[in-house]
């Protein structure tokens, strides 16, 4: 199992944080463009899912999977969006993202008075804790390429 990369967006589509671990293929465009594309796609999928669902969609869009990787999506009620790309065998990533939100994001970003809401995170402490949390998770377990 492996984790490829992580995007965090706010409700206005600003990329607040990006980190990558085992990303083998780069997109070939700048990070800003990539984030815009990613956010646009998520936004479209979300409204597509809500529109096309034959029953009440409740939680809405959760993840999608290709034969190479899986993209997991968590949206909080406050509009934060966590996007984690993993390999296809990863399980219960939603709980993992919820934990990440509670233990890393809230602790080291929201409770940091120097962070201005709605701006990208630059705190080294957060970067370090975030990296540590991801690496220690059972989902990470080094690369399988």
């Amino acid at each position: 199992m492996t984790i490829h990369n992580l995007y965090i967006f706010d409700k206005f589509g600003t990329l607040l944080y990006y980190a990558e671990w085992n990303r083998i293929k780069q997109s070939g465009i700048t990070r800003e463009e990539e984030a815009k594309l990613m956010y646009g796609m998520l936004f479209s999928i979300k409204s597509f899912v809500n529109r096309i669902s034959p029953t009440d969609p409740k939680e809405g869009f959760l993840f999608y999977k290709t034969n190479k990787y899986a993209l997991h999506y968590l949206e909080t009620a406050s509009g934060l969006r966590f996007v984690l790309n993993t390999d296809t065998s990863a399980v219960s990533v939603k709980e993992f993202l919820q934990q990440y939100y509670a233990k890393v994001w809230v602790e080291y970003v929201v409770k940091n008075p120097l962070w201005v809401p709605g701006t990208p995170v630059t705190s080294d402490l957060f970067k370090q804790k975030s990296d540590q949390y991801i690496r220690q998770s059972s989902l990470f377990a080094s690369k399988s390429a």
Binding site: A77, L80, A102, K103, V110
Partner: protein
């Protein structure tokens, strides 16, 4: 700069410390502004700024989803007061349209050792609470109006915060390619 995650769940503080710290803050603001209207505004603003951060902590602990109606919102606010101030406000006085309700407090931890001097009768001492509710709800796309209907500091029997739903804010759509 090393914070331990082990003490994360049980950060309990004596409420007297909070009461006195808050009292010191209000005193300082009064000294800085003199005009009570400005003081009220500042307290509201501080509360708002607290609310927009506090909501993230609340959501991460409770894994709440967005509210579908104001009754659910009222329950969540009640739960938040229990969580952060260890008081249990009563929810009552629903407007017929179900978009307005009151939170009734028998005790208010912020005003435990407080008496208002006669010349400050317009001061909303616990104004941060209103700002906090407003800020937190704005982050979950609810615009509300929030004010004190009764205040024990002003001789009323209970403290009553009134919350009125204004409108649901729309989710932002991504900026187009330009």
């Amino acid at each position: 700069m090393s914070r331990q995650t082990s003490r994360l769940d049980s950060k309990k503080v004596n409420s007297e410390l909070l009461t006195l710290t808050y009292g010191a803050l209000v005193t300082q603001i009064i000294r800085d502004f003199e005009n009570i209207d400005d003081v009220n505004k500042q307290l509201e603003r501080i509360g708002y700024n607290m609310g927009i951060r506090l909501i993230e902590d609340f959501l991460s602990r409770t894994a709440s989803t967005r509210c579908l109606d104001m009754r659910e919102t009222a329950d969540k606010i009640q739960q938040a007061f229990r969580m952060y101030l260890n008081v249990q406000p009563t929810i009552s006085n629903w407007a017929a349209s179900a978009d307005e309700f009151s939170l009734i407090f028998d005790t208010n931890p912020l005003t435990e050792f407080v008496e208002l001097p006669a010349d400050m009768s317009t001061l909303r001492f616990s104004g941060v609470l209103c700002g906090c509710i407003r800020g937190a709800l704005e982050m979950v796309q609810l615009e509300v109006h929030c004010w004190f209907a009764q205040d024990q500091l002003k001789g009323d029997g209970t403290t009553e915060i009134r919350v009125k739903f204004i409108r649901r804010l729309e989710d932002a759509i991504p900026a187009g390619e330009d």
